[in-house]
């Protein structure tokens, strides 16, 4: 019985210890030992700006996709550039070829992306100030690659040129704005403002303004009284009555309008108008003819006057006819 209990106890202890150790190893594996078996490629870049917020282990992303981490940050004492080594995990790049060709495929892809304008840049992770490195097309396709510093790269290592981060541009813009602000003549503005305020206080102290304000106050009071009177006179009941009267009147006006329309339609105005127009035309023609007749009558009268004059001057012409006119010099 004791032996059986002893054996059970040993089994339990064994499970406990082995279980704990297995768990320990499994956690270690999950937390990073699996990295040992990951296929990686080192990519190097150089920053001339501050890399504040970038640490070993910071993410490296290709167009937003996490592809690796920063593995080393160092400063080159010769040219003060910050050298960043990045470990890019090749498992993130699917080529479809065999496992052994993964590395060469990635290198080909990387070179073609550089020709297409891919560069790296520091980006902010969020509001915490932490940063990551982003690979994206920050240059135009075919743009000449910036050469790495002399002796900074092994022949087998990959290099990606860095472009300044947008934050640097923002700082530059802020600097320019501050410079412009510093040029503003605040003293002159302040003096002008002070003068204006003095004038304004003088204006406010003017008795005429006070009397104007008093009058405005009186007018406002009168207006208030008037408004009260109006509201008293035009009480709700009275207003309702007036409204009903107005409605009645409007109804009558409507009826009258309808009647007028009917009358107008009955008057056959278009026909009368055309008859008037024809009569008017006839009168116009008659007037013209009368004018012609009168002109002809005038001409007749002129002829008769001329005849009477010639008869009175030479009555014999009735018998002998009209004498020929004498030509000078004959």
């Amino acid at each position: 019985m004791t032996q059986h209990h002893d054996s059970n106890q040993k089994i339990k202890l064994g499970i406990f210890v082995v279980g704990g150790l297995v768990l320990f190893v499994a956690i270690l594996f999950f937390l990073g030992m699996s990295d040992i078996f990951t296929n990686k490629e080192t990519v190097r870049t150089f920053f001339s700006e501050s890399v504040q917020g970038l640490t070993v282990g910071s993410a490296v992303k290709y167009r937003g996709v996490p592809i690796g981490n920063v593995s080393k940050i160092s400063i080159r004492v010769t040219d003060k550039l910050v050298q960043i080594d990045m470990a890019v995990e090749l498992k993130h790049f699917v080529s479809g070829s065999e496992q052994g060709q993964q590395r060469s495929d990635f290198k080909r892809f990387f070179q073609s992306e550089l020709e297409q304008g891919m560069r790296c840049r520091l980006e902010y992770t969020g509001v915490t100030g932490m940063r990551y490195i982003d690979f994206d097309y920050f240059a135009t396709p075919g743009q000449t690659l910036t050469e790495p510093p002399d002796g900074a790269l092994d022949p087998d290592e990959l290099y990606i040129p860095a472009v300044p981060s947008p934050f640097r541009d923002i700082l530059k813009a802020i600097g320019t704005s501050l410079d412009r602000i510093s040029r503003i003549r605040f003293e002159e503005i302040s003096d002008g403002l002070e003068r204006s305020l003095t004038e304004l206080s003088g204006l406010l102290a003017d008795p005429a303004l006070k009397s104007t304000i008093d009058r405005i106050n009186e007018a406002a009071e009168n207006l208030e009284i008037g408004s009260r009177t109006v509201s008293r006179v035009f009480g709700e009941e009275r207003m309702n009555r007036l409204m009903s009267l107005l409605e009645d009147d409007l109804e009558k006006v409507n009826k009258l309008t309808e009647h007028l329309i009917t009358e107008t339609q009955n008057a056959k105005l278009p026909e009368s108008t055309s008859a008037f127009r024809a009569a008017s035309n006839a009168i116009t023609i008659g007037q013209d003819e009368l004018a012609n007749t009168l002109t002809k009558l005038n001409q007749t009268l002129d002829a008769l006057t001329e005849l009477a004059d010639s008869l009175s001057a030479d009555p014999s012409s009735v018998i002998s006819g009209k004498k020929k006119p004498q030509i000078k010099g004959e």
């Binding site: 106890q9 499970i15 406990f16 768990l23 937390l31």
Partner: protein, 267 residues
């Protein structure tokens, strides 16, 4: 020296002597244990005792440790969700739970559970042996009670506490994940990925390493209180209580010191 002044000094000395003795007694106890280490290395210890205490402090304590750590993880996740949902960042609950459990709460909760589970048991056991004069009998037989009684307990605790901490860490993370999946509707893969991103090997190992000093403190406090318990049944009870209280106090103080030390290396 004037007689009056001498009397006053003697009175002060009488007051402070017990306090001084109380202060030096734990140090003396540690010294006695340390003195037995070469003997332990030469002769070893009884395997049966070690197995008994490993069973008591490890196997039997495992369910309660798992349960408490699971619930602690759930509580943290719920509270984290309430706060982080204000910013629409519920997924960060995984980071918070993972980091806090592995770095701080896992080792601490396991140590506190073990204080109640094992520390009080050690004090009660040794106190009762003292009451029954078994310790005197051991001394009569030429066996040093400190090495005979303390080392199996200490060894078992040094082995079981880190293992329990590992189990506790996993249970805490699973508790948080349970809340994340059921209440926050986060997918298990997303939760697990966030947790792995938040913690790293160093954080995990440093958390587990904390359990070694905690194991030593719990064992020493329990055994010391047992050896110094009064020779009556009430004394045994008081000894057990004292063991728990002093263990908790020492664990918290040690945790503060360890955290400060870790901060020097950036963790």
């Amino acid at each position: 020296m004037k007689p009056k002044t001498e009397q006053q000094l003697r009175a002060i000395s009488r007051h402070f002597r017990p306090l001084l003795q109380d202060g030096t007694r734990p140090v003396e106890f540690i010294g006695r244990i340390a003195a037995e280490v070469p003997d332990l290395l030469r002769h070893g210890m009884r395997g049966r005792d070690f197995r008994y205490y490993l069973d008591l402090c490890g196997v039997q304590a495992l369910p309660i440790v798992l349960l408490i750590c699971l619930l602690m993880g759930m509580v943290m996740a719920i509270n984290g969700q309430i706060q982080l949902s204000k910013f629409g960042q519920e997924l960060l609950v995984a980071d918070a739970v993972g980091l806090v459990v592995v770095k701080e709460l896992g080792p601490l909760m396991v140590a506190l559970v073990m204080t109640g589970w094992a520390g009080s048991a050690f004090a009660a056991e040794i106190g009762t042996m003292k009451l029954d004069e078994q310790i005197c009998a051991l001394e009569t037989m030429g066996i040093r009670p400190e090495s005979f009684l303390v080392f199996p307990k200490l060894s078992a605790m040094l082995l079981s506490m880190p293992l329990l901490t590992i189990f506790g860490n996993v249970a805490g993370i699973l508790g948080g994940m349970l809340v994340g999946i059921t209440i926050m509707k986060i997918t298990p893969v997303a939760y697990w990925t966030r947790t792995l991103e938040a913690i790293n090997i160093t954080t995990f190992v440093l958390g587990v390493l904390k359990s070694f000093p905690f194991a030593i403190l719990v064992t020493f406090a329990g055994c010391f209180c047992g050896f110094n318990a009064a020779n009556n049944s009430q004394g045994v009870g008081r000894g057990a209580t004292k063991a728990v209280v002093s263990s908790i106090f020492l664990i918290v103080v040690a945790d503060v010191i360890i955290t400060v030390l870790y901060s020097f290396i950036g963790y």
